[in-house]
């Protein structure tokens, strides 16, 4: 099942959009019987019913607090709208993950603003950093605020509802000409973290930059992501959640489902449809139509993910 309800802004974009949606506010994830499903926020009520005994969590990404350029002069405002939506979900999710680029320039005031808004969801938030979160002179704000109990640049794992969650960092020590980077130390830790774990344990891996190669010409991929995925071979259910590219994109490969979340700040173009991956300016009246809500459903055995886009407006 697949349904697309985009405003048709451009032919080429529509073509590429076969399996992707535009920037939105957040994804509601629910795990029922060990299989993660993601649902749009508008479907939250139904989701809560369907997922009754399972684990439900949210993903938001790329809030870029501090961004004030034409693509969205008020990124804090749209983050607030996203949190407002989350607060209308009738059944409280267990927690939220944020897949990075909390801030735009790593200013203390940006992190303060983000925390002030995100805390209104009254949920535990598990963060991983984006490259925009390590821009302060001493590179200490992210670690101080979000890195407690983490290793290296901020990686960690935890268990919830029978699912093993792994937060990875692929935005530091990037090499010239390369993509995202996990590095030897983190890969070693990952291998050890997974060793001896029952292969029937559902695993959710989240990191900022896509772990799979989406579009290397724009740096959308992770140099040593394949090594991380090697360690996940044999697990029955692996879900990889990323951000960074400000649009929903999905891929299923064997036991692994890849999904990138929308931004709460601004959309970015589909791969190769613009001169650069920079913020995409749409007409003011259409901003919320590209910041619309998308819901994603997948079930074990389904070959394709089902995507339902619902714009915030229009």
């Amino acid at each position: 099942m697949s349904h697309h309800d985009h405003d048709d802004h451009g032919v080429s974009r529509r073509k590429v959009l076969e399996c992707m949606t535009w920037a939105g506010t957040g994804v509601l994830w629910t795990i029922s019987g060990g299989v993660p499903r993601s649902l749009g926020l508008v479907d939250a009520a139904q989701a809560a019913e369907k997922a009754a005994p399972g684990l439900t969590f949210l993903q938001i990404s790329d809030s870029h607090v501090g961004f004030d350029k034409p693509a969205n002069p008020n990124a804090l405002g749209t983050l607030e709208e996203a949190i407002g939506k989350i607060n209308t979900i009738p059944v409280k999710p267990s927690f939220m993950i944020h897949t990075g680029d909390i801030s735009h320039l790593s200013k203390a005031s940006e992190f303060d603003d983000a925390d002030r808004i995100i805390s209104q969801a009254k949920l535990d938030v598990h963060y991983v950093p984006g490259e925009h979160d390590f821009l302060d002179e001493e590179v200490k704000f992210y670690k101080e605020r979000y890195g407690k109990g983490t290793r290296g640049a901020g990686w960690y794992s935890f268990d919830a509802g029978g699912v093993h969650f792994i937060g990875l960092v692929n935005v530091v020590d990037l090499k010239a000409g390369g993509l995202g980077n996990l590095g030897a130390e983190q890969l070693e830790w990952l291998e050890a973290d997974l060793k001896g774990r029952s292969k029937s344990t559902p695993v959710v891996v989240f990191a900022h930059i896509p772990l799979w190669t989406v579009y290397p010409q724009w740096g959308w991929g992770t140099e040593d992501g394949a090594r991380a995925l090697d360690y996940l071979k044999g697990f029955g259910s692996v879900t990889v959640l990323n951000g960074h590219i400000h649009q929903v994109m999905q891929k299923v490969e064997g036991n692994v489902t890849f999904h990138t979340a929308r931004s709460t700040a601004f959309p970015q173009p589909a791969p190769g449809t613009a001169a650069s991956p920079g913020p995409m300016k749409v007409e003011d009246a259409k901003l919320r139509s590209v910041l619309g809500i998308a819901s994603v459903n997948f079930k074990m055995g389904d070959e394709r993910l089902a995507i339902i886009d619902t714009p915030l407006q229009g």
């Binding site: 821009l135 990037l174 010239a176 290397p216 650069s276």
Partner: protein
């Protein structure tokens, strides 16, 4: 007498100034501009001489950095921010943006 001395002195200063200017000119210390637009350094390669300066200016709505491993590293350049580096030694300076490593450039200094 007094007036003539003054005039001579004035001419001397002018000549000295010219001399300095012409020396500076013969050293050909130039400033090159590299523009960052659409996640691209332009021009992507520059041939410079020792003593020349390169100034990078970010015109994107996304911050970038200029990093040449072990040689120089800019702060994060927000929109319209610039970074300058004066090259004091010959060599090939490969550089990239540490946030978007697919962005690369080269300064060849002779």
């Amino acid at each position: 007498m007094m007036r003539r001395d003054f005039m001579n002195r004035g001419a001397g200063i002018a000549a000295a100034t010219l001399l300095v200017l012409s020396f500076a000119g013969s050293a050909q210390a130039e400033t090159f501009a590299v523009s960052i637009d659409n996640f691209t350094f332009a021009p992507v390669e520059i041939k410079a001489k020792v003593g020349d300066t390169v100034t990078w200016t970010n015109h994107d709505d996304i911050p970038h950095t200029i990093v040449s491993a072990g040689k120089f590293r800019s702060k994060t350049l927000d929109t319209d921010n610039s970074f300058s580096f004066t090259f004091t030694a010959a060599g090939d300076y490969k550089y990239f943006c540490s946030l978007h490593p697919h962005m690369t450039g080269l300064i060849k200094v002779e």
